[in-house]
């Protein structure tokens, strides 16, 4: 009980001080607002940027999820250092290379070469020019995970027999004015008859990959496509990882296999590109980090500016209330208790600013959510709210310390005589 009494005294002083400070804030609304403007700006920017960033992150992750976090891309690339030695067509992927990767790379579940061509497509009297068609293998279905709405998937037989069959999307049916169930119809692709065997769902391009409307898509067996292709190379290959964690393994494995096949010397650069979704994620995280750092700088500056405002108003308060301090000391208030009183007042002032700043930030987030579809889920995480309040309290302690120490060191005799 004897040990507890000083603790009780401190609690008593604290509760009374907090109450007094709140009354003072309530009575001087404009003064409080102006004083805590820096704090308000700091807190509001933390809430806004962190909220927007986390919303964007969620949006991007959603898109990755939609597109598949296990996706791997591979294509030929002519590095700057090789420009003199070889041409662009030398580095394009070959079917054999894709097959070697499929055979030796263990971290891939599926792997599919792709060749794009642009053809004129005719159905009945209607002719569409410049339609993108892709030569693919049956494994394409396992990578893209698109629903078959009618008909069937490609089969190994389509591939091996180089059959003139195609799978089209709903958009193509619409554009070509075909019956809803177009399976069994024929289309002319560069003058050759192709039997429609399956309909796949139309996918919109995600905002990350160019965005825009869905396009007419016609898929044919890659073996058939290669017959139409005099060059002998393919555009790129895509695959699916066995597990999302295997992204870096896959990059290493594919790189090893391709370098070996292409006979690259150790000092030569890769003549191809292997990309995994994870890399985009890393890139995005880097952007997020840079934005966080910029915000950090803004927050730091406004906290310092705000803190100086707090210090100024607390110095005014100490000098306005010199007699009160003298009286409290005469009544037996320990210097530490006086220090605590003014420190608490500064902290309460800062926290009032923080509450206002959080409100401003949340209002701003409401606006941001309307601004772009990527930001629809923008919301301040709890840690950002706690952090901003914590930083404000810290600013209160830091910048309130000097005025509080000044108050605690006042000589009661002089303070009571102060005019």
């Amino acid at each position: 009980m004897i040990l507890l009494t000083p603790v009780m005294m401190v609690l008593r002083v604290l509760s009374q001080t907090v109450l007094l400070a709140l009354v003072q804030i309530f009575n001087n609304k404009i003064r409080t607002f102006l004083t805590t403007l820096g704090i308000i700006v700091a807190v509001a920017s933390i809430i806004l940027v962190m909220g927007a960033l986390s919303g964007m992150q969620r949006g991007v992750l959603d898109q990755f999820e939609q597109f598949g976090v296990k996706r791997v891309f591979m294509d030929g690339r002519l590095p700057r250092s090789m420009r003199g030695k070889m041409s662009w067509s030398d580095v394009q992927l070959k079917i054999e290379e894709v097959e070697a990767v499929r055979e030796h790379v263990t971290s891939l579940a599926h792997f599919c070469p792709m060749y794009f061509g642009s053809y004129s497509v005719q159905y009945n009297e209607l002719i569409l020019e410049g339609i993108r068609s892709a030569g693919i293998e049956p494994s394409w279905h396992d990578i893209e995970h698109r629903d078959i709405l009618n008909g069937r998937r490609f089969t190994k037989i389509d591939l091996e027999q180089r059959r003139n069959v195609c799978v089209i999307n709903e958009k193509a049916i619409e554009e070509l004015n075909m019956p809803t169930n177009a399976v069994g119809e024929f289309v002319l692709l560069s003058g050759r008859r192709f039997l429609v065997v399956g309909i796949v769902e139309t996918m919109e391009n995600s905002a990350m990959f160019g965005g825009g409307d869905a396009q007419t898509e016609i898929y044919i067996p890659i073996t058939t496509a290669m017959n139409l292709n005099p060059d002998g190379w393919i555009n790129f290959a895509q695959g699916e990882l066995k597990d999302a964690d295997m992204a870096m393994d896959a990059v290493a494995e594919i790189t090893f296999v391709l370098r070996k096949m292409r006979g690259l010397e150790p000092d030569e650069e890769d003549t191809f590109d292997v990309e995994v979704m994870q890399e985009y994620l890393e890139d995005f995280k880097k952007i997020g980090l840079v934005m966080t750092m910029i915000t950090g700088a803004v927050v730091l500056v406004s906290l310092v500016v705000g803190g100086i405002g707090i210090m100024n108003i607390m110095l005014v308060s100490v000098s306005e209330r010199t007699r009160e301090i003298g009286l409290r000391k005469a009544m037996g208030a320990h210097p530490m208790v006086i220090l605590l009183q003014f420190l608490v007042e500064a902290v309460v002032l800062c926290l009032a600013g923080a509450v206002f700043g959080i409100a401003v930030g949340q209002l701003g987030l409401m606006g941001i959510r309307q601004a772009h579809e990527m930001l629809e889920e923008a919301a301040a995480p709890l840690w950002a709210i706690v952090l901003s309040a914590g930083l404000s309290a810290l600013a209160g302690i830091g910048f309130g310390m000097f005025p509080a120490i000044r108050a605690s060191l006042l000589n009661p005799i002089d303070a009571l005589r102060h005019e």
């Binding site: 009780m8 008593r12 409290r328 000391k329 009544m331 037996g332 208030a333 208790v337 009661p412 009571l416």
Partner: protein
């Protein structure tokens, strides 16, 4: 014994001039003993050292030399922060300009010393109400200072000084800001408190006010120059005679 002071000295250093320190000897060997339940007035002109003595008696200041024992506590040996507790528990201050907190009610003002007390907070409100009732303001507990008259404000200050049951009540010119009617109110209150056993020390330059104390200590140049019971103090007796003579002349003038 409430207060025992021996050879108290207070020297202020005001800086140096031509290499010599300029010193002001505010108290120069003051010795004084005050028993419990005494009612003492300390008098002196400005510069006599009475304010310095009051500050030391009130534990607001420390002597340069000498001893000061308050209710058995050797306060001259204590640190500045330890003195805060002594002030809280042993001394009740009444100031010339009341020093009430303007935004707080009378009750909250009276409760202030208990905020800093180590005593139990439970019952603090009741003790504050009792103190206000004692000074005759039982019905003004929720008034703010600006809703009270000067005399009432000083009575709130007296209630605040008494609420921690101090061993001495120390009043510095308590009637300096009051008119004659309210001055009499406060003087009457002090007499009541004295009758109920409270030790009171009052610092004043008004003979009229000092006359209600039972003992008058006079200071000049930092020394005690006289220390008599009020009815044996020659200066005060002169004052009473001249006052009576003036009153007589006034009465005659009115009659004529």
């Amino acid at each position: 014994m409430s207060i025992e002071i021996r050879d108290l000295e207070k020297v202020y250093r005001l800086g140096t001039e031509k290499g010599r320190a300029i010193e002001v000897r505010a108290l120069d060997g003051v010795s004084l003993t005050i028993q419990p339940n005494e009612y003492v007035a300390i008098m002196g002109t400005s510069g006599s050292g009475k304010s310095t003595l009051m500050n030391i008696l009130g534990c607001l200041d420390k002597p340069t030399a000498g001893q000061y024992v308050l209710s058995g506590i050797p306060v001259h040996k204590m640190s500045t922060s330890a003195l805060a507790r002594v002030r809280n528990e042993q001394i009740g201050f009444v100031f010339q300009s009341f020093e009430l907190l303007a935004r707080q009610t009378a009750l909250k003002n009276v409760m202030l010393p208990m905020v800093y007390s180590r005593r139990h907070w439970l019952g603090a409100r009741k003790r504050a109400k009792d103190a206000l009732a004692l000074v005759g303001l039982g019905d003004r507990t929720h008034h703010r200072p600006n809703q009270l008259s000067g005399g009432q404000r000083q009575r709130v200050a007296v209630a605040r000084a008494l609420v921690n049951q101090p061993s001495i009540l120390l009043a510095d010119e308590p009637t300096g800001n009051l008119d004659s009617v309210t001055t009499n109110e406060i003087i009457a209150l002090f007499e009541e408190l004295h009758d109920s056993g409270q030790t009171i020390i009052i610092v004043t330059h008004e003979e009229e006010v000092a006359g209600h104390a039972k003992r008058i200590v006079r200071l000049s140049d930092g020394k005690v120059i006289s220390d008599f019971p009020t009815d044996k103090d020659p200066i005060h007796q002169d004052f009473l005679r001249s006052k009576a003579a003036t009153a007589q002349r006034m009465a005659q003038a009115v009659q004529a």
